[in-house]
């Protein structure tokens, strides 16, 4: 009897923290803990806020994703992951301003789905990028197998074995399964010094990377076609040793959010944490999707 009681007590002691984490933690509490894990709440304006749902909802499971598309939300609901941590916006613009979308059928259906399935969506963008070294960049570098090629421990700048731009583009396309890779520069250019800028970091950050003497090629997520794209084209036309590769925004940031799921598993033991891949939104006319 005494031994049996001890066993029961041990089971209770062992089970208690799990039960507390999984059953009584609200979405708001979980997101606060995630913020602390990364850079902490940003001072001033940030997009890392509640996007939809009731923050007092008890968390049954967590899904990380590049962007909570309709299909990602459906999969999260199916798996019981009611806390969705999305890197990019839910409602089609950076601050998730919904004023333009009032009455829009696509927006209204997405919002209704979140509410009907009692999902809670928070965005994790500024805080994860502000963490040093940026886990989103680290995720991309690891996906490329380049984690031993950092210059000065900085995941944004790497040295790789010299190759041609064309060969590098083919390697990236194959390794990351890219549907619509875009390249600017001379295909025969030898490249070894690489800058990485996942996502859409904008003209100035992209040009500052490309301008450096120790950078041959910038690998970015996306860029406006009248901005960095034309800067890179002119640099190449001037005979400079420069090139630009655009992976696609999702391709460049999804691995970082998959790494984030690993971090959250360590942060919330006993809580189900899934990474749900958003996938590339766009396909190539030459290779339409099979399904």
């Amino acid at each position: 009897m005494d031994a049996m009681l001890r066993s029961v007590a041990a089971v209770l002691l062992f089970a208690a923290p799990l039960a507390v984490s999984a059953q009584t933690m609200t979405a708001a509490e979980a997101f606060h803990k995630i913020q602390q894990r990364y850079g902490g709440p940003i001072a001033g304006t940030t997009v890392d806020t509640l996007k939809a749902g009731d923050p007092s909802t008890p968390v049954t499971g967590i899904a990380t994703t590049f962007l909570d598309t309709m299909d990602v939300l459906r999969e999260a609901a199916k798996r019981g992951d009611n806390l969705v941590i999305t890197h990019e916006p839910t409602f089609y613009n950076h601050p998730d301003d919904t004023s333009f979308f009032q009455g829009d059928p696509v927006y209204e259906e997405k919002l209704a789905f979140i509410r009907e399935h009692h999902l809670v969506v928070y965005r994790l963008h500024d805080e994860i990028h502000a963490t040093k070294p940026d886990p989103i960049a680290i995720g991309l570098v690891k996906a490329l197998g380049w984690q031993n090629d950092f210059k000065n421990n900085d995941p944004f700048f790497l040295t790789i074995p010299p190759t041609t731009l064309e060969e590098l583009a083919t390697m990236l396309r194959t390794r990351l399964h890219i549907a619509t890779l875009q390249v600017i520069g001379d295909p025969k250019l030898t490249v070894a010094h690489v800058a990485i800028r996942p996502g859409a970091s904008g003209l100035q950050k992209q040009v500052l990377a490309l301008r450096r003497d120790d950078v041959d090629v910038l690998i970015a997520g996306e860029a406006s076609q009248w901005e960095t794209v034309e800067y890179a084209r002119d640099a190449a036309a001037q005979g400079r040793h420069k090139a630009l590769i655009l992976l696609g925004h999702e391709v460049s940031e999804e691995p970082g959010m998959e790494e984030c799921a690993e971090e959250l598993r360590a942060l919330f033991p006993g809580v189900r944490v899934d990474h749900i891949v958003a996938g590339q939104p766009m396909w190539n006319a030459e290779y339409p999707p099979v399904k």
Copy 2:
């Protein structure tokens, strides 16, 4: 003698306006006349301004282009087209703000080239788009052979013979020689009702077009991947009859600027007017450029 004098006089009368247009018209005067031909100067802020060069330079020839890349400027100089009319910016951002680029080697070399070759660059963007019907949209529609398919005489909305999204994408890629076409939606979707939005018209204009009941597919130049691209993906995932095709910014607007050259030939008889194709900046890893 009398007959001979009459011939000489006739030749002089015929030749005089040509000589005046070609030899004494300044770049500023020519641009003013171009503005009058289109919507006229925009009230308030506009990007349609002098970008580089001396506006009092006598015009020796005119070049229109989608965007005055280094290679376009070299070709203009070679042909003696010292007035360059560009649709998109010269210096890598919409207002051609050059403060960030002071000391940048790519910017400095481009500016020096313009000055050394006594070129004068003006932008024609807001005023041509404000002309009804938008000549840039008309140019794209004509390039597609769809000029008889306008709904209500509006070049932004057309009805074409029903086809699948996949077939339409393949037709566009082939007809417009597109290197990196991007498509969002079900390849098997039947499409017949088309909206056209050349360039990067932005989230709201693109969504307003896609939202219409009488639009199946929006054909645009470019779109941010966290904005219209994801709206279109969600619309398709909700089972709506919607798709999005991104031609590339240059592909979507170059034909309109080629049409502009035709207009300027009529406007400036006796002045050499060329359209110099900027070409697509980006290539596909599967089909790198041959040259």
